[in-house]
């Protein structure tokens, strides 16, 4: 599945890298612990988190995640968006809490 095919269902909005809607999305990982994501998130996953600081970008980039989705209406720091633009990691936000966002994504990816 492509990133753009998930945006509507996730009620998500691009905060950066809008020009990368065709990135592959094959799975999802939900965590607010960076080392947990490093160890356990699969490549080409959307990472759903409440963390908003710039260090999330390095994690996503190092393990090849397709995008970061910041849930429950939280907003990324401006430095996070700048860093993400530099590293080509799309950052999206949604008002949905993590559980609902993950649930919707699960249904999409399981189809």
């Amino acid at each position: 599945m492509k990133l753009k095919e998930t945006v509507n269902e996730l009620e998500a909005e691009f905060k950066c890298c809008k020009l990368l809607p065709d990135r592959d999305v094959s799975w999802c990982y939900c965590s607010d612990l960076l080392s947990d994501v490093m160890a356990n998130a699969k490549k080409d996953s959307i990472w759903i988190t409440l963390q908003t600081h710039p260090n999330i970008v390095a994690v996503a980039s190092l393990i090849g995640l397709s995008a970061i989705l910041i849930s429950r209406g939280a907003e990324p720091d401006p430095e996070t968006i700048a860093k993400a633009a530099q590293e080509n990691i799309p950052i999206l936000t949604t008002k949905l809490p993590t559980f609902e966002a993950a649930g919707r994504l699960y249904s999409l990816l399981k189809k």
Binding site: D36, M38, A39, A58, L62, E79
Partner: protein, 149 residues
Amino acid sequence: MEKQKKPVTKDIKHEYSIKGMDFVAAGEASSNIKHTLQLIGFAPAVIRRAAIAAYEAEMNIVIHAWEGVLITSISPERIEIIAADTGPGIPDIDQAMKEGYSTAPDHIREMGFGAGMGLPNIRNVSDEFTLDSSLGRGTTLTVVIYPTA
């Protein structure tokens, strides 16, 4: 009779300095290491293991030490990452290796670090793992990954 030529393989060495508490630059050394490994053409699974080891080691220096270096030595058969810091050192290495144990302060845990997973993560992706520490002086971690293993 002509002498058989031995292939000359030189390790590619890089050194990256890392400052304690510099969360802005944090991750840059690891990104550079990953990029180098990609240019050389290692398999994605190998690159992932090395990237995890490098990042966790880099963040340990940022979070716990005063300053340090990541030194990489790379050949097709062997990837070595040394993380050497001057810092408080680790009082009890066995305890530090336990999953879930962390001495990171609250404001760092709120950022999602300090879950007590860093060192165990590094060990899990390494073929060789050596941790030496001296209280009040610093810590040296050596990780080796064999790409063919």
